[in-house]
Every structure is written in structure tokens, then in C-alpha cells.
């Protein structure tokens, strides 16, 4: 009988005879090595001389799951699974890490959620955050619209790497929402006791029950398990590779926070409407270009080739080297739209202060105020998908979903 991972085996090696469960290969393991999970729980790698089957591995024990009962008086909230750390878990038997848990599993692992709402869980896709594509945003938005017909709000567990892009995409796609759309992620996977997934998820559900008609991201506010922050979908950015409080509202105060049972809003927000309106067309022919010393004309030309628009992450107040200005000029002359944001992220661009800026203005580059580059990129895709060129250009620097603000105080 063939021996496969999961089977209980006896391995003879130079180091002695060992019994345990045969584990799947580790991608970084030496080729000669087999991995054994010993009875004491430890995994070790051995160079086997002989492997003997003791007994076949049984089927994985099904997790017991109470069927959740509908509770009267609690609102319905939809949870749409998309993958990512918040949904990742380890298959304990084989030791393999799986990127996804079912949405039901996720809810089941946070039983407190059932005291908050009746949950309608589904899995839309199961991808790593970095594999996100514009076409998935369209699918996700359509699913949200469908769920909002039945639920008061939607929670979307999402990988954190591109969560800010997705929240911006859905922000623009829904000019009007009949309930909150709340993205939530985790920086520590939910199979860890220290995971931030639980607090983030329960806070997200609380926000999804509110009267908000916006797309938001709910994540830890600090390194402590103290409160979660509600970020506007067009203003939020992942600002740290690994910390729990990686998500920050940039150039804007957060919308509010969730602490314990309380959802507190710091500023005015859009209330939910009677109707959900979806404008889900996206023109993917938009480039997001980081300017840096050394970016040559022909490289920029390549990046712009075939594009309908581009967002530049310029230096400082919104500049690029004078040598590439002719390339941009030609692109605009041929009908392309170019918006200027700043790689500083914090602060507003201004093309009037320096001569380079004035030149850029003159060739028709649109300064994008204090909008995040990624948000601007999404916005331009959406504008080009739903408006004529002229309309798109006009709306690019106009505030549609709270992505631009006219004033910024010194205190925030």
C-alpha cells in the first residue's frame, strides 16, 4: 500500500527508529528528508533508510459545528469571504498551511458574533491578497449589491496587502449604499491565540450594523487589543508590513472607532440610502507610476504605452524630472489623462510653487490635492469606465467619496 502524508509510519534511520505521522514535504526541506510528527507533537526531519506503514491516516476529524440558530431581533449581516490572513489556518494533521477557512468557520471561531447579528456567510473567492485583480472588484461589488438586498450590512474579510485598493474600488463603485460595507483583515492569522482577527471581526460586525452608507476598513487602532479604528475606504493605507495597527487614515482623521460595545464617530459620515446603486465598469488601462531619479524617457514611454490614463507618484509637492516632461506632454496630447500625486503620501500636491510644477500644469497634468496615489489610480480606472474622457478628467480632482479634502488642520 502506498504511504502518503497523514499516515502513521515507522521510520528507520541512522539516528534510530521513530514512529509518527508522516508530514507533507516542506518547500525548504532537503530532498533526502522526510518529516515526521512524533507522538510528543514535535516535527523532526530524518534521512530515512526504510519507511514502514503502521496504519493509514484516518479522515480528518470534521470540526463540530453548531448550526447557528436565527435569533429574533438581531439584524442580518452578510460576511463575504475573499481569502487572506484573516482566513488562513494550519491543517494540524499534516502541518500544511491553508490560505482559507470557510466563512462559516471564521464566524464559528468567534462565537460572540452570534450575539451581535444573524450571519449570512459565503465565500466569493479564495485568493491571496497580492493576487487581487480589478476584475475581482467587479465581482465583489456585484456580490455586495446582492447581499445588501437581504442584509443590513456587509463585512468583507480580506487580505491586508491590497485591502486599501479594494476598499477604494468599492467606494467609487457605489455612489449610494443601503448599508455599510466593511472591509476587515488580520495581521496575525486566526489560528494564533494572539490573532487580531477576532477583535477586528467583531468590531467590523458592529460597524456593519450602523446607519452608515460608506465603504470602510476596520482594523486595530494601536498595538494593544484596545480599540479598532474605522477608516474611510478611500483614505486608508497599509503603512507597516507587520504591525496590528498598520492601517492608517492618511491626510484625514479616521471616521471613528469601536471600543468594547461602543461605535463612536469622530466626524460626519454619509448615512445609508434607500437604494444601492452600482456603477461597476472599470477601465483597466490605467498605470500607477512611481517617479524616481533614474527613470528614463523610454522606460516611462513603455509604461504609458496603450494606456488611457496614468497616476504619477511624483516627488515632493508633485514633481518629475524635466527630462520626462516631453513624454507626458505627448501622452496627454494623444488623449491620455495624467494625475499627479505625491510619494510623500502625507500632504497636498501643489504645482504652482516651483517652475517644474508650473510646466507640468501647463502640459495638462491634473494635480490631485491630498488624494492617496492608490486611491487616485482606482478612481481614474473607475472614471474612465463610466465617463467620457472629459468628464473623467474633470471629476478626477473633485471630491466624490471623501477622497479629497479642502482643508487640513495642523493637529491631524
Amino acid at each position: 500500500m502506498e504511504i502518503e502524508p497523514g499516515d502513521y509510519v515507522e521510520v528507520k534511520s541512522e539516528k534510530g527508529i521513530f514512529r509518527g505521522i508522516l508530514m507533507p514535504r516542506h518547500e525548504f526541506s532537503d530532498e533526502k528528508i522526510v518529516i515526521l510528527k512524533l507522538d510528543n507533537g514535535y516535527n523532526i526531519g530524518l534521512v530515512p533508510q526504510e519507511i514502514k506503514l503502521i496504519r493509514k491516516g484516518g479522515e480528518r476529524k470534521k470540526r463540530e459545528r453548531k448550526a447557528s440558530r436565527k435569533k429574533d431581533g438581531l439584524p442580518w449581516i452578510s460576511v463575504i469571504g475573499t481569502g487572506g490572513t484573516i482566513a488562513s489556518y494550519v491543517d494540524y494533521k499534516t502541518g500544511a498551511v491553508h490560505p482559507a477557512l470557510t466563512a462559516e468557520d471564521l464566524v464559528f471561531s468567534v462565537p460572540e458574533i452570534e450575539d451581535e447579528a444573524n450571519i449570512r456567510a459565503s465565500i466569493l473567492f479564495n485568493i491571496l491578497s497580492e493576487d487581487m485583480k480589478p476584475e475581482y472588484w467587479v465581482k465583489l461589488a456585484r456580490k455586495v449589491k446582492e447581499e445588501l438586498k437581504k442584509s443590513e450590512g456587509v463585512v468583507i474579510p480580506h487580505g491586508t496587502d491590497t485591502m486599501g485598493y479594494s476598499s477604494a474600488a468599492l467606494s467609487f463603485m457605489f455612489p449610494s449604499l443601503s448599508g455599510p460595507v466593511v472591509f476587515v483583515g488580520a495581521q496575525r492569522s486566526s489560528d494564533r491565540p494572539s490573532s487580531d482577527a477576532y477583535m477586528n471581526l467583531i468590531s467590523a460586525v458592529k460597524v456593519a450594523k450602523s446607519d452608515m452608507g460608506e465603504v470602510t476598513v476596520v482594523m486595530h487602532g494601536t498595538t494593544s487589543d484596545d480599540h479598532c479604528v474605522i477608516h474611510r475606504g478611500t483614505r486608508v493605507r497599509k503603512m507597516h508590513t507587520s504591525r496590528r495597527d498598520a492601517f492608517k487614515s492618511v491626510n484625514s482623521q479616521p471616521l471613528g472607532m469601536v471600543k468594547g460595545d461602543d461605535v463612536v464617530f469622530y466626524q460626519d459620515y454619509k448615512r445609508k440610502s434607500e437604494e444601492t446603486i452600482l456603477q461597476d465598469k472599470m477601465d483597466e488601462k490605467v498605470a500607477l507610476i512611481y517617479y524616481y531619479p533614474g527613470l528614463r524617457e523610454e522606460m516611462l514611454e513603455k509604461m504609458l504605452e496603450g494606456m488611457h490614463g496614468a497616476i504619477i507618484m511624483g516627488t515632493g509637492l508633485g514633481h518629475v524630472g524635466n527630462h520626462v516632461i516631453p513624454v507626458l506632454k505627448e501622452f496627454i496630447r494623444d488623449g491620455g489623462i495624467v494625475g499627479m500625486s505625491s510619494q510623500c503620501l502625507y500632504g497636498r500636491v501643489n504645482l504652482n510653487v516651483y517652475s517644474t510644477g508650473r510646466k507640468l500644469r501647463k502640459i495638462g497634468i491634473v494635480p490631485l490635492e491630498d488624494m492617496l496615489p492608490e486611491t487616485a489610480y482606482i478612481k481614474l480606472m473607475w472614471l474612465l469606465g463610466n465617463y467620457e474622457r472629459e468628464g473623467a478628467e474633470k471629476l478626477l480632482a473633485k471630491d466624490l467619496r471623501g477622497e479629497i479634502s479642502p482643508r487640513r488642520m495642523i493637529t491631524w
Binding site: 539516528k15 470540526r63 494533521k93 489560528d191 494564533r192 494572539s194 487589543d225
Partner: protein, 593 residues
């Protein structure tokens, strides 16, 4: 049939295991943050028993950040590569214990949710198997040697929160586990001591309080108990032997209960009304704060709770004390503590107790009282069976107290953030050649240098054997050097002391006091000055004059200058030149006239 096993944890003197922080303790708190931990489903889809009990306490954890802790300890950054120096030390220890190194190392996560690890798990890796140690009682097998990260340091336990400091979290730790091959406390002590010698022989282990810890497993044929943190070697025999007695007692109690067909009635009685007018201060306090008195009937338990050598009541109290509940009373100890005979009778009446029955009362806030009584029910049921598996803490009086249930087995899963490490055969062969001498060999060497075995063991125990060897080879006086090192302290310049001694700056007799005073913070040179041998200047002058008679006859008083130089050279500044010059002048004048 007594079976004892040992688990020894020793901190290593390298950087931390999974980051670049220094392995040291710190009192500098820069920042604090708070977390909660949740039990997660184990690999079998069950929640770990020990994990569940911790979460029942619903505690928050406060973490103090010190200069030697970074984002890794804060669980805000993935672990870095495993520290190779620590691995090398651990592998050497494994080889000294005749263990076999595994071919590839896999780091695991061991679930621990008492807050002592910010992540909720301890990273640990099995590096070697199947070693042994020979002792005067026979061979003790060592099935596993692990390298793991140290837990955070508990600073204080407050209402609903535990404070930990991150200085200790992540310090590399070798864990050596023996088979249950030992039969007495004395044997356990010897094994702990010998393993300690081997660890210190590497010269790369941390020293000082808390840097080595022993856990002892004891089974007397039924159940298994782990005494956690039994660090004082001299106390080990008492802890072990008392635990053996405790287990024998529990087995006898189980026999009695079986004969009586004892059982635990799970009904919880509301007894608050009986105690409205009580004189018991504890109960009065609880009632004033809105608490209640709840009770439980223990059918057939009379006399085993507290009578003669039987002490099951203490076990029950210890089990609820870990939940922070102190107001537990039982039938065998009442009336007492202000609880009257009348109140006891009313309780008995309400519960319909028969002559062999007893009861437990808990005065607390209702929710806590109910949780605590569930715990009592659980523990009392286990008493019917004998010795329950549990983790116990050692106490200074030689006894132990209940800490928590033994953690289950199913609580380990792979640390996916750290790739496996292949251990090449050539590397192991190289390490074998670099192994430090075993303590026994080392002792023979020290004895050959001229000290007795007892002094030799003391030097090895304190890790001063290398310094001893250096000093003796340079300056001789083996016993003197050994005594100095044993009586002395760390961080003083023994080389300088023995250099001065060999120059005759002070006598043998002065050495103990000189070292004591230097350890006390006095400066070596100034202490030594006070211990200079008294010099007989007159005698020295006479000697020099005798030697240089020719010179004096030739040059008369003009010989003074060269003679003065010679005398001062001999004295090396120990005597004031003015005195010397006067004395020399006088002698010369006598001689010439």
C-alpha cells in the same frame, strides 16, 4: 511504584533565539501595551484543557517593553532566523549527553495562553533524541533535548490583568527531558546536579537566579504530577518525597470513597439566607458586597477532607484559589472561622446530609462562586479515582500547591515563519571535536593541579575552573587560588591580585580579606598598600652595606647615592625615601668614623 522524571531548562548566553535583542533582564520600562489571548482549536478540533482554564479567567495581559525587546517580542514582526550560536551550544550539550542529533530541525509552536508569550505559543524545536546520563543510582535515559524560547517575566497579577515584562521573552533555552527512571528525591537531585555541571561546562550558559529551572514529574502508579520550577537543588528531595506521600494519601482516600460508594451531587445549593447574621468576617464581607454563599453536597466525603493525614479539603481550596476565589469552607473544618455550629446544622439539614456526607461552601460573587463550584465538582469527582494529572508549584516549606491541569498533548503545530534547518553530518563531526571536557574529566585535571576533589567540584559548579587553571599555571598556590575564587566574587581582577601576591606585596594570610574588600568595591591597589609586609629597613640597609663594603671603602660618604638607589630598588617604594635616607646616612657615618 515511584517514577520520577526531570525536565531541565537552562538559559543560554547568546542573543535571543529569534531576534537580535540581548539576553538579559532589565528594569527599564519604556512602554506598555495590552493584549488578550484566545484559545484556538487544536489540531484535533478540540480546545486544549489548560488553554481553556486560562481563558476562563478572562484576563488581560499587560506587557512592559524594555530596551532589549523589539517588535518580535511584541508579536508585531515575524521571528527572524533561529540564532545559530544558541543552536550550536544546544547541539554540543546534546552530544555530551550521548544524544543523536536529528537530521533536520523543525521549529514548532507550543500553545501557551497564560500570557507569558505574546504570541500565545512558545517556539520550540526538538534537536536531539535518545541520550543518557550515568549516575551513582544507575543510567537515566534522556529521550529528548529541545531548544526553545524563554517566556516573558511575570511582574505582577492584578484583578483581571497580569503584567509581564518582555526582557526575558525569547532568551534561548535548552530543555533536557529525562525518562521517568528515578525513584527518589535524592536521585532526582543528583541527576539535576550532574546535568547542571554539563550545561555549565559549555561556558555559554547564563548564570544567576532563575537562569536554570527544573520541572519534576512524579507518578506513583496512578496519574502524573509535574512540579514546575523546582529550582533549588537542596529542596528537591523534600519536594519529591512530600509529593510521593501526597499521592499515596490520595490513593487511600480514593479507596475509602469507593467503599462508601461516594459521589458528587452536582446540585448547587443557595445558602445565603442561613448566613445573614453570621459572625464569619469573610462571609460578612462578601454579603455586604452583594455576594452569595453557595454550597455543594459531597456524598460519602466526611473525614477525608481534613482528618488525620487526609487533606482533600486543601486540594479543593487550591483548585479554586487559582481562580482567585479564597472563601472556600468544607464540612470537616466547620464550625470554625466564625461559622457557628448552628449554621453548620442548618446547612446539613437543608442538604439532607447523612452521617458519611460532607459539604463545601463558597462565599463569593454569584458568577464567580458558580465557576468555582464547577471546579470543586470536577476536582471532587477526580478524587473518586485517585491522583489527578496536574501541574503543581513548589513552596518554600517543602510542599507543593495546585497550579493548573497538565496540558494535553495536542497543542503543537509547525512554526510556518521559520524554514527548517538541515544539520549536516560534517558539522556534527566538527562539533564532536570541539566538545568541552565532561565535568568528571575536568575534575581529574583540576585535582592534578593540586587541589582536593571537593574544591574541584566547587570550582566546576561555579564555572571558575578555567580561571583557576590559568592562575595556577602562572602563579602556583593551587589551594590558595581555589579558595580565593570560591570565596570571591565575579568581575574582580584575580590576575592582578595574584600578580601582586607573587611579587611579595602582601602575605598569604592577607588574601581572603583583600578579596573581600575588593568585592566590596574598594580599589585593589589601595587595599594592597595597607597589607604590605612590614619591612625591616635596618636589616636591609645592613645587608646592602655588607654586600658593598668595597665600594664604601673606596668612596666613603660618596657611596651614599648608589647605595640609596640599591635600597630603594629593593623596597620598591614601600617605605618613605626620607626615612631610608636618614637611616642609611647614619649607618654610613657610623661605619666610616
Amino acid at each position: 511504584m515511584v517514577k520520577c522524571g526531570l525536565e531541565i531548562h537552562q538559559q543560554l548566553n547568546t542573543k535571543k533565539l529569534f531576534c537580535d535583542c540581548d539576553s538579559e533582564l532589565s528594569d527599564e520600562v519604556l512602554y506598555t501595551f495590552e493584549r488578550v489571548l484566545r484559545p484556538t482549536q487544536s489540531e484535533l478540533g478540540e480546545i486544549d484543557k489548560a488553554a481553556l482554564e486560562e481563558s476562563m479567567k478572562k484576563r488581560r495581559f499587560v506587557y512592559q517593553v524594555t530596551p532589549n525587546s523589539c517588535l518580535v517580542e511584541a508579536d508585531e514582526e515575524p521571528p527572524h532566523q533561529l540564532n545559530r550560536n544558541a543552536l550550536e551550544i544546544a547541539l554540543k550539550v546534546a552530544l555530551m549527553l550521548h544524544a543523536k542529533i536529528v537530521d533536520e530541525i523543525h521549529v514548532m509552536r507550543k500553545i501557551v495562553i497564560d500570557g507569558s508569550n505574546t504570541s500565545g505559543f512558545q517556539r520550540t524545536t526538538l534537536i536531539a533524541v535518545d541520550g543518557y546520563l550515568d549516575t551513582s543510582f544507575g543510567r537515566v535515559r534522556i529521550p529528548t533535548i529541545c531548544l526553545e524560547e524563554e517566556a516573558a517575566r511575570k511582574i505582577e497579577e492584578k484583578e483581571g490583568a497580569v503584567v509581564y515584562r518582555l526582557d526575558r521573552l525569547g532568551i534561548p533555552l535548552i530543555e533536557i527531558s529525562t525518562s521517568p527512571d528515578m525513584k527518589s528525591g535524592e536521585e532526582v537531585k543528583e541527576v539535576a546536579e550532574r546535568i547542571g555541571y554539563i550545561l555549565r561546562a559549555t561556558k555559554r550558559v547564563r548564570r544567576g537566579v532563575g537562569t536554570i529551572r527544573q520541572d519534576i514529574n512524579i507518578s506513583t502508579g496512578q496519574g502524573r504530577v509535574e512540579i514546575k520550577g523546582a529550582s533549588r537543588l537542596n529542596m528537591i528531595p523534600r519536594w519529591v518525597n512530600n509529593e510521593i506521600e501526597r499521592q499515596e494519601m490520595l490513593k487511600e482516600i480514593a479507596e475509602i470513597l469507593k467503599k462508601r460508594d461516594a459521589k458528587v451531587d452536582e446540585r448547587i445549593y443557595e445558602l445565603t439566607d442561613i448566613f445573614r447574621e453570621t459572625n464569619s468576617k469573610i462571609i460578612k464581607n462578601v454579603l455586604r458586597k452583594g455576594g452569595k454563599v453557595l454550597g455543594l453536597k459531597l456524598v460519602g466525603f466526611k473525614g477525608v477532607l481534613k482528618q488525620g493525614k487526609y487533606r482533600l479539603g486543601r486540594e479543593l481550596a487550591e483548585n479554586v484559589r487559582v481562580l482567585g476565589v479564597k472563601g472556600l469552607f468544607h464540612g470537616d473544618e466547620l464550625p470554625a472561622y466564625g461559622i457557628s455550629q448552628d449554621e453548620v446544622e442548618r446547612v446539613k439539614e437543608l442538604m439532607h446530609l447523612s452521617k458519611d456526607d460532607s459539604f463545601v461552601l463558597i462565599a463569593e460573587k454569584e458568577e464567580r462562586a458558580r465557576i468555582a463550584l464547577q471546579k470543586v465538582i470536577e476536582r471532587a469527582k477526580k478524587a473518586l479515582l485517585g491522583v489527578p494529572d496536574e501541574t503543581r508549584a513548589p513552596k518554600d516549606d517543602g510542599t507543593t500547591t495546585y497550579l493548573r491541569p497538565l496540558p494535553g498533548e495536542a497543542r503543537m503545530y509547525p512554526e510556518t515563519d521559520i524554514p527548517p534547518i538541515k544539520i549536516e553530518e560534517e558539522y556534527v563531526e566538527r562539533l564532536k571535536k570541539e566538545l568541552p571536557p565532561m565535568p568528571e574529566e575536568r575534575l581529574e585535571k583540576l585535582v592534578s593541579l593540586g587541589i582536593n576533589r571537593e574544591l574541584g567540584w566547587q570550582l566546576i559548579r561555579e564555572g571558575n575552573d578555567d580561571l583557576f587553571e590559568e592562575l595556577v599555571k602562572k602563579y602556583g598556590y593551587p589551594t590558595l587560588v581555589a579558595r580565593a575564587l570560591i570565596n570571591g566574587c565575579e568581575g574582580i581582577d584575580y590576575h592582578r591580585i595574584f600578580h601582586l601576591f607573587s611579587q611579595g606585596k602582601f602575605s598569604k594570610e592577607a588574601i581572603d580579606e583583600i578579596i573581600a574588600r575588593v568585592c566590596n568595591g574598594e580599589e585593589l591597589e589601595s587595599v594592597v598598600l595597607q597589607f604590605q609586609k612590614t619591612v625591616d629597613v635596618d636589616k636591609l640597609i645592613e645587608k646592602i652595606i655588607e654586600e658593598k663594603r668595597e665600594l664604601i671603602e673606596e668612596r666613603g660618604m660618596h657611596a651614599f647615592k648608589p647605595l640609596m638607589g640599591l635600597v630603594m630598588k629593593e623596597l620598591r617604594g614601600r617605605v618613605d625615601g626620607k626615612i631610608v635616607s636618614e637611616k642609611l646616612k647614619k649607618k654610613l657615618e657610623e661605619l666610616i668614623s
